[in-house]
Amino acid sequence: MMNHVIKLLLRMLTSCLVLLTVAVVSYWVLGLISPQQTLHMDLGQYLGRLLEGDFGRSQFYHEPNLHVILQKLPATFELVLVASILVALLVLPLGFYTAIVPQHKLARGVMAFSLLGISVPVFLTGSLMVFLFAVELNWLPAFGRGQVIRLGFWDSGLLSVSGWQHIIMPAVALSLAMLPLFLRLLRAELMQVMNSNPVRFAQAMGIAPWRIWLSYGLRNAILPIITMASLQLGTTMAYTLVAESLFQWPGVGTLFMQAIVRSDGSLVAAYLILVSAMFLLFSALADLAYGLFNPYLSPWHRDQGVASKSGLKAP
């Protein structure tokens, strides 16, 4: 238990250090982009204001930066959420299918398609979809977010038909960009587990195949998937930014690119700090999830010594 407390403290300390570095860098960026803003404010004052929660005012919107960014956050969050749900819904059946019958023609087709998916950048799939479904067939809107419904501080586009029509193309483009990576990883892990001795033993005992797949396969494959997800967090952010600027999605990424074009230094600096904070938060959440799925790393597990000595990953 003591070990975990120390680990947690260390983690918080490094997070604070990273944030401090980012804050110093963003002060420097602010001075680079809009020098007049740093004339009457030295680094100490800037950091002090950040601690009070004052991220400055945007020169373009004439509003507090925090307010501007928080207004755009729901759009990005919903886009990433829908895309991740799509990835999860597609990757599990496809991963199991291609791992269980790897030589089947359809499974090979899926893997070939995933190799193609790695080679097609998100903005190209997006452009192609816009051309097909918005320009030629006129089924879906090409840009924007559609009608949003206000729930307190959260502007949701997921409660109206037009919101769903608008989110389909960006979310599908984003999920197609993320899918191949996870599909290949899940397939490789599952195939490795399926060829291991415990699984052969379970098969010999006559345990139902679906139970073997779920309780041996998925359970052992989920940890590398979580590691991968936490490593791909930054790439997901980058792809989201590209998809947002392609579909003119009114999210944080578009806000950042517009702030760059408008030389809105104070908004860029605030974006840097908030995005790094979010990044740290999400990678901490991924670590927590890792502990949750791996019982031997979880702080609530009792027989830690025994398990680490035997080195088993029991189903």
Partner: protein, 315 residues
């Protein structure tokens, strides 16, 4: 007198009988993709001599030629085989020059990554101790940030600070530098693992006893034995860097407008797509996909072919 014949044809025969070459000959998909890659590289290298127009030369641009369709359309112009973009530039020439840019950035950025990663990994594994801990700590830290996101942030902020005009005189070099520096940890980790496996072997001890300098032992004794996994990483990274360059140019923060790049062409063509002129974006996109797919297929095959587990097998 019979002298041993270590001449040209002997070396050539050795290459012909090399396992790698034999495996390549039997794998049709990889053979085709290496031919495609070779063709694309030759086209890119010869672009200044074989392309019908010079896209960087404003004198050859005529706005009256703008938005002409490719040759299979009725209203095409015989001078412009693949049509023209919105400014009247020949699309074929732009694509050839764009391929050249992509390959150029891919090659140099990977060269920078390779050098930094290999040197750090070698010294980390060979010397151990605090150097090892420091380098691997830095690698873990760097690995959580995505190089694409880092490149977007750095390049966008530099652009906002310098202004678009000044920025674009430096952007090709900055692009290579950022993409090159941001992605070293994979190389360093792989080299370190191989060095740890190699450094207690007899040939290294022999070299140490003979009194060679550490630098010499690392570079000419250990490094050659760690090259094959590095080759796989480098070939995958070429594809990733080309994709990243395309994404950055698509966002308008990569290559300058005057210097055609595939991503930039897709980005500028996307505006015309909404009015039905699909070829301006999709033809460069097709070239990009061909390039990336062939590199990815070769890299994928190389990983299997160079894997020590598969080396004894007949092709």
């Amino acid at each position: 007198m019979n002298t041993p014949r270590y001449h040209g044809h002997y070396v050539w025969r050795r290459y012909r009988r090399n396992q790698l070459w034999l495996k390549l000959k039997t794998n049709k998909v990889v053979l085709v993709s290496s031919i495609v890659l070779l063709l694309l590289s030759i086209l890119a290298l010869l672009a200044p001599w074989i392309s019908p127009f010079d896209p960087t030369n404003l004198q050859q641009q005529n706005i009256m030629d703008a938005e002409l369709p490719p040759f299979w359309h009725g209203q095409s112009d015989s001078r412009f085989v693949l049509g023209t973009d919105g400014l009247g530039r020949d699309l074929l020439s732009s694509i050839l020059y764009g391929l050249r840019t992509s390959l150029w950035v891919g090659f140099w950025a990977v060269a920078v990554q390779f050098t930094i990663g290999t040197l750090l990994g070698l010294s980390s594994g060979y010397f151990g101790g605090w150097i090892d801990r420091m380098v691997m700590g830095m690698a873990d830290f760097q690995l959580t940030f995505s190089s694409l996101m880092l490149a977007i942030l750095v390049l966008a902020i530099t652009q906002a600070a310098l202004g678009a005009q000044d920025y674009h005189t430096w952007s090709p070099w900055l692009l290579i530098l950022v993409l090159g520096i941001a992605d070293w940890p994979q190389y360093a980790r792989t080299v370190r693992a191989s060095v740890l496996a190699e450094k207690h072997k007899d040939y290294v001890l022999a070299a140490q006893v003979l009194g060679y300098r550490s630098r010499h032992i690392m570079l000419s004794h250990i490094l050659p034995n760690t090259l094959s996994p590095l080759l796989v990483i480098a070939s995958l990274q070429v594809a990733y860097v080309i994709l990243a360059e395309a994404a950055l140019s698509f966002l308008g923060i990569g290559m300058p407008y005057a210097n055609p790049s595939l991503g930039g062409l897709i980005g500028s063509g996307f505006e015309y797509m909404l009015s039905g002129l699909w070829w301006i974006a999709l033809l460069p996109g097709l070239a990009l996909v061909l390039l990336l797919l062939s590199i990815n297929l070769i890299a994928d095959w190389l990983r299997d072919a160079l894997d020590p587990k598969n080396i004894g097998q007949r092709p």
